[in-house]
């Protein structure tokens, strides 16, 4: 079994991708090649931007089951529409119109149950794809991407988790921002969660929400403060008050931020920053041996 680490944040732009990509690279160069990075931010996957040497080794389509209404069998009773929590079904009896919007359907199957006339059948509907990339190692990076307009992030994330390399020692899930369903889906399988925050009121506000979520999900977690040195000290007061482990503090470095914008996240990493990732990797190694 692989040890699964999710990198989350609540607030967007705190540095989930930065931490996930750097942690992956640190583990791979300093600890084990047996690590896979999984980009679960399926609406905007961007881990790949930082690995210019990665080559596609496999690509597969992710499908969702979507009901299709056969208007010749439909009595336009409207039962399916009533059952649909997502307003994905439109029935207009006066003009004999019955249709399902695949971009609103969540594949719950309630409409199939509602229809007593056998007018509804499910069809495969493509909603995105999974791509695996190699940098010389078969298992390196797995990425999910969702088609624009589809609400089914969780389906892609489920498939990502099912397709992750079982033989990896470590899986790193780069989670989407926020605290809603896609984050819950990503975190649900994790053995440990790294919460990335920034020392600003915005970072703190969303960190509180994410900490509450972790507690509700009964997950083990620790915090990485990114862009340390900017903002204020409130985030540290909160971490102390809640007695949460501060795993690493990555100093804000304008030059390095400029490098990031050019996609050069992994070259010329400032020594002070490199040291923090090493500290994080060592922490995880210790944790894994104890868990």
């Amino acid at each position: 079994m692989s040890y699964k680490i999710a990198v989350c944040s609540g607030k967007g732009g705190t540095g989930k991708t930065t931490v996930a990509v750097n942690l992956f690279s640190t583990i791979q160069t300093k600890w084990t090649k047996n690590v896979q990075l999984i980009d679960c931010d399926v609406e905007e996957p961007n881990d790949l931007l930082f690995f210019k040497d990665a080559k596609v080794i496999n690509r597969s389509i992710v499908n969702q089951l979507v009901p299709v209404i056969d208007e010749s069998q439909c009595t336009f009773c409207g039962k399916c529409e009533e059952y649909c929590e997502f307003n994905a079904i439109s029935i207009i009896p006066s003009v004999k119109y019955a249709s399902v919007d695949p971009n609103m359907c969540h594949s719950c199957g309630a409409c199939l149950h509602a229809c007593k006339f056998g007018a509804i059948q499910e069809h495969q509907h493509p909603i995105g794809e999974l791509t695996s990339f190699s940098r010389g190692n078969q298992m390196d990076i797995l990425e999910g991407s969702l088609k624009i307009g589809s609400p089914m992030q969780t389906k892609i994330i489920k498939d990502l988790k099912a397709n992750a390399c079982d033989e990896s020692d470590i899986l790193i899930y780069d989670a989407p921002p926020g605290t809603s369903c896609p984050v819950v889906e990503t975190v649900s399988a994790a053995d440990f969660v790294i919460l990335v925050t920034e020392p600003t009121p915005f970072g703190l506000y969303d960190l509180r929400l994410t900490v509450d979520l972790m507690k509700e999900m009964q997950k083990d977690f620790g915090i990485v403060v990114n862009k340390a040195g900017m903002g204020d000290r409130e985030v540290y007061a909160y971490i102390k008050e809640e007695d949460i482990e501060l795993l690493a503090e990555i100093p804000f470095n304008r030059e390095y931020a400029g490098q990031y914008a050019q996609g050069k996240l992994l070259s010329d990493v400032p020594p002070l920053i490199e040291q923090e990732y090493l500290k994080l990797a060592i922490y995880l190694k210790n944790r894994m041996s104890h868990d």
């Binding site: 997502f86 307003n87 439109s90 207009i92 009896p93 006066s94 003009v95 919007d101 609103m104």
Partner: protein, 105 residues
């Protein structure tokens, strides 16, 4: 011909509502009878798909024209499908009465 105008409340003195699927009320005006009626939007708090649900009602009521501030992509597709004319008006300081008077003349 029946026209639906999105309204912020019930009554011809109420202001025009710029939202379609999330409009508070609807005014249905029939120019054949010069009759004006109001009904509340029961989809105003729908978590998703409010626009589509409103279009269903619009079609059932036999309306040929809708006046609102804008139409979402899903509502637009359905309205087009049923050949219902969409009129976009950007002025939310106008009352329902003013709008009706405007297209009467």
């Amino acid at each position: 011909m029946k026209t639906i105008i999105t309204a912020t409340g019930k009554g011809e003195e109420k202001l025009f509502d710029l939202r379609f699927g999330r409009a508070a009320w609807f005014c249905i005006y029939d120019d054949a009878t010069d009759n004006m009626e109001f009904f509340e939007n029961k989809h105003v708090d729908a978590p998703s798909g409010a626009g589509g649900k409103v279009v269903e009602e619009v079609v059932e009521l036999g309306v040929s024209r809708v006046i609102s501030g804008d139409f979402g992509p899903k509502a637009k597709d359905l309205l087009e499908k049923f050949d219902i004319q969409m009129v976009i008006l950007k002025d939310d300081r106008k009352t329902i009465k003013e709008i009706v008077e405007n297209f009467k003349s």
